[in-house]
Symmetry: C2
Subunit: 167 residues, 2 copies
């Protein structure tokens, strides 16, 4: 999928088909994260693949997203020098690598960070910034139509002239 | 460019050719930002195109990056509820939309946020999270070779088994 098409057609997908992801694609998603640029190349992250997402589901704001996910990755960030910016970059890259193969995804905000940290057995030096869920969309999504100018126009986003300024 | 290829071949480009970007591409880069997903769809951002980057160059850590840029976008984020995660997502999308057309980019950390804020005439409700610079690379970069497994292997990144864990 063309990268611009992937970027503009990506929407959060929270409802997943009961269909596993190929191992190779899981590897691609994680590689997309691994090679992501970061401030001073610190790579202040680890990607924790949660084998049984249901086990930690009630530590995020919307537990259903985790229960239905085909892949669940907790983004464990360096707690010493937290960088939300780096976390956002790496999450976006992983979600785009997935979407490139038709796999939807969604970032899940953490409601009980301490409990999630303990359930995943993380060291004190890390904290979970966000939990990413992935899966083939339960309802088919056509990237081309999502990227069409009319769709983008209708999308629930602030208008161009409100968001873009010159100085 | 395939989205996976774009993601894994993107490297920070800090040295730019003296060649303008087509208006249409600038628009695409900004659109890629505008449609980016954000927490609760708050879209807590504005993209401030800095017409004369040299004017604000000494407010970032590496002024040279701004002086040579063909396009310079200050990411003005909602100061009330700052989200580095949303900033990282939107920045990555804009940089990938650029790279998809062979345009390099780099996030520039802000050294003097207060002065930059004043120079850009921003309201108190916003603060600049990062300044993105864009331009055709001064030295040609071949995405395919950058995405080759050997190159990724050699890339200055932590190894897969150190970054990925299962829990």
């Amino acid at each position: 999928m063309d990268a611009y098409l992937a970027v503009v057609s990506k929407r959060e997908v929270r409802s997943y088909a009961d269909r596993p992801l190929p191992d190779e694609l899981v590897r691609q998603i994680l590689e997309a994260g691994r090679v992501t640029g970061s401030s001073q190349n610190r790579q202040p992250w680890r990607f924790v693949v949660v084998e049984d997402p249901a086990r930690v589901a009630d530590t995020v704001f919307v537990p259903e997203n985790l229960r239905g996910a085909a892949l669940c990755v907790a983004l464990a960030m360096d707690a010493g020098k937290p960088s939300g910016f780096d976390a956002g970059r790496v999450a976006q890259n992983m979600m785009l690598a997935a979407w490139n193969e038709g796999v939807g995804s969604c970032p899940n905000g953490v409601a009980d960070a301490e409990r999630l940290h303990d359930l995943l057995g993380l060291p004190d030096s890390e904290r979970v910034s966000i939990v990413l869920t992935f899966g083939y969309p339960a309802r088919a999504v056509d990237p081309e139509s999502r990227a069409a100018p009319e769709w983008i126009e209708r999308a629930d986003r602030r208008p161009f002239d409100e968001v873009v300024a010159r100085a």
